[in-house]
Each structure stands twice: as C-alpha cells, then as structure tokens.
C-alpha cells in the first residue's frame, strides 16, 4: 500500500489498495470523494472559498472550493469513478486564532471554506456522508480506498475514523 500526499492547494486520486492524505489542515478543508464499488478515492486541499477572491487570471484551481470540487469530480470520472455512486467527506475548516471582532473577514476563513465546499458538492448532487469540521485545532486526514474510511488525527485528541 502506498500513500499519496496532497499538499496545500493540491489534489489527487488513488486506487485500491492505496491511500491519500493531507497533513495539517487548519482553516483549509480536505474534501474527499469515494466510489465504493470501484474503490477509487480522491482528495483536494482547499484553501479559499471562492475564485471570486482570486487576483489575476491564472490561478491554481485546486485552491478555491468552487473550482477545486468540480475539478476533483472530473479527475475521479477520468479514473473510472461513477458520479452517481460518489459520496463526500469533509474535514478541517478550523479557526486557528481568536483575533477578536472587527477584523478582516478573511480571518474567519475556516467556516467560509466549509460552507463553500458544501455548496459546491450540493451543486454536483454529491451527498456528504461524514464531516469533522470547525473547532480551533489542526487536522491530518487520510482516506483509505479499501474501506472508504477517512482517518482524522489531531494533536492531543484521539484518532477517529469517519
């Protein structure tokens, strides 16, 4: 079994028996898609909610929820997944610092990322079957293609599988 590592604003798709993971999600959101019958798993590490925030024409589509989620779906389909069978899981979207009121809305980016990922999935009619989002702590996640389980690890917390 090999583990594919996804960095900030990157995506990937893996086949059984492999897994795919991303380390240290803070305000970022890890979105995973899974086809249970063909055991295909995909993940994208979303950093910002909307391409409307992008400055300039050439931006990395894996960074923004509204472009990253549809692109991940296309990658999954190219790898042989069936859109009707896909289910999604989400993790991350924490608020890492408490900076008081009246600060830049970008500092509440975690909650906005989660909301935008949900909206993008709803638009594609993909059901969210599990999530571990919000709070104020970082998360490392790993999706196993064999089972479709998403392992969530955080400092000082018990490892969970959702």
């Amino acid at each position: 079994m090999a583990t594919v590592r996804v960095g900030i604003a990157e995506s990937g798709v893996v086949l059984n028996p492999n897994s795919i993971s991303t380390l240290g999600l803070g305000s970022c959101v890890g979105v995973t898609l899974y086809d249970e019958r063909r055991k295909i798993g995909g993940m994208v590490h979303v950093m910002l909610p909307s391409t409307e925030l992008a400055k300039g024409e050439n931006f990395n589509r894996s960074k923004f929820a509204d472009s990253a989620v549809p692109d991940l779906l296309n990658q999954m389909i190219k790898s042989g997944a069936d859109q009707r069978r896909l289910v999604a899981k989400l993790a991350g979207g924490a608020q890492m610092f408490n900076l008081g009121n009246g600060t830049d809305p970008l500092l509440k980016i975690g909650a906005r990322n989660v909301e935008a990922c949900k909206k993008a999935l709803a638009a594609l009619k993909i059901t969210i079957v599990a999530e571990d989002t919000g709070g104020s702590w970082g998360r490392t996640v790993e999706l196993f293609c064999e089972t479709g389980l998403l392992e969530v690890r955080a400092i000082g917390r018990t490892k969970t599988h959702i």
Partner: protein
C-alpha cells in the same frame, strides 16, 4: 508589485534590511525582559512556495507554538512569532526558572504569548518608524498546533494572488547561541502582495532596476 518569485536581488536586500531593523528591535526588547543578550539573525528573505514554508519550520505536522498578529494600515500583512517545543521550553526556563513538559502549563503558555506579543509589537514599531506608516496590529493570539494548520491559515490572503510567499524571517539566539539544538524559533513577516510596492515606494526604491 506582487510577491513575484522574480523580485530582484536588490529588492530582496531592501527587505532584509527592513527585517534587520524590525527583528533587531524585537531582540532588544526581549533582551531587556530576560536580562540576557538576545540576538536576532535574519536567516532568510526569499520567495518560497507554500508547501516549502511548512517544510522550512519542520514539516506540516510538526507542533509549533505561534503568536499571530494581523497588521492593517499603511501596509497590511501577517506577523508570526513561531517557536518549536524545545525552544519554547528553554525560553520559559529563562523567564521563570521552571521546567515545562510538552503539555505546557497555563503559566508557560502565557510566557510565550507575552514574549511573542512584545517581540511582534517592537518589530512593528520599528517597521512603522522606518517606513513612516501608521500600522495597526490586531490583538495577538496564541495557538499550539501543527505547523501546516497555522501557516496555511496565515497565508490565506497571499493565496489570493499566488502559491508563493516572500518569507521574511529572523531567528532568535540567547547568550550567543540558539535556544535549542534544533534552532526552532522564527519571527515571520508576511506582507500582503500589494504591500511590497508600497514598501519600496516609501523607501524611494520602487523603480530601482527599471529600464
């Protein structure tokens, strides 16, 4: 001007000088607080891809303590005082004489919070004087978590423009040596991309190297 990986060496040197002034002032404040000689070595001013920045502080899953401040005003950006566990333990021992385990006491955490607050505050004061801008810092906030989680959040604003940030980094040393063998303490200035032009304009070097 944006956080262009092709920013000239001359402009990177200008940023290094800014860092020398800011970090130097921060070191002086900490020195007063500790009653020991504190130096700040500017270890790096360079454009780095986001994923390299997390590697630079020890990897995305490395536990770090961070005091975070958002700056608005003449220029905008984020400042972080980042310290790894062994360095934080040494610093707390210097301050209180107490030895901390990896869990950290409330007291220990508030020492780091206060040290970060003072260092970032004096860095910003020096920066403000040097550039001639009013700079308004947010309330400093402390977190202990994975480096990836803290840094990616701190890079959100820069992420709107690209996948690379100009990292302006100073490393701390006390009594002539690093706090621990790992040398895991940093003070990062991460200006928003639009602010580089403003900085160079204020210093009269915006068009240096143009033809």
């Amino acid at each position: 001007m944006t956080a262009d990986p092709m920013m000239s060496d001359f402009h990177l040197d200008v940023l290094k000088e800014i860092s020398n002034i800011g970090a130097g002032n921060a070191a002086t404040s900490l020195s007063t607080l500790l009653g020991k000689a504190v130096d700040m070595k500017v270890s790096r001013v360079s454009p780095m891809p986001f994923n390299k920045i997390t590697d630079y502080v020890g990897g995305a899953e490395c536990t770090i303590l961070t005091v975070f401040v958002r700056i608005e005003g003449g220029i905008s950006g984020n400042m972080l005082f980042v310290i790894k566990i062994p360095d934080a333990q040494t610093l707390i021992r210097h301050m209180t004489g107490k030895t901390e385990d990896e869990g950290f006491s409330e007291m220990g955490l508030s020492v780091i919070h206060e040290v970060g607050n003072i260092m970032i505050g004096s860095y910003i004061t020096a920066l403000s004087d040097f550039l001639g801008f009013e700079l308004n810092p947010s309330v400093p906030s402390l977190a202990m978590d994975m480096a990836g989680a803290i840094l990616a959040f701190s890079l959100s604003e820069i992420g709107r423009s690209g996948d690379t940030a100009i990292v302006i980094d100073g490393a701390l040393s006390v009594d002539g040596g690093p706090l621990s063998e790992e040398g895991g303490s940093h003070i990062f200035l991460l200006p928003d991309p639009e602010s580089f032009g403003t900085i160079f304009q204020a210093l009269g070097v915006a068009h240096h190297g143009d033809r």
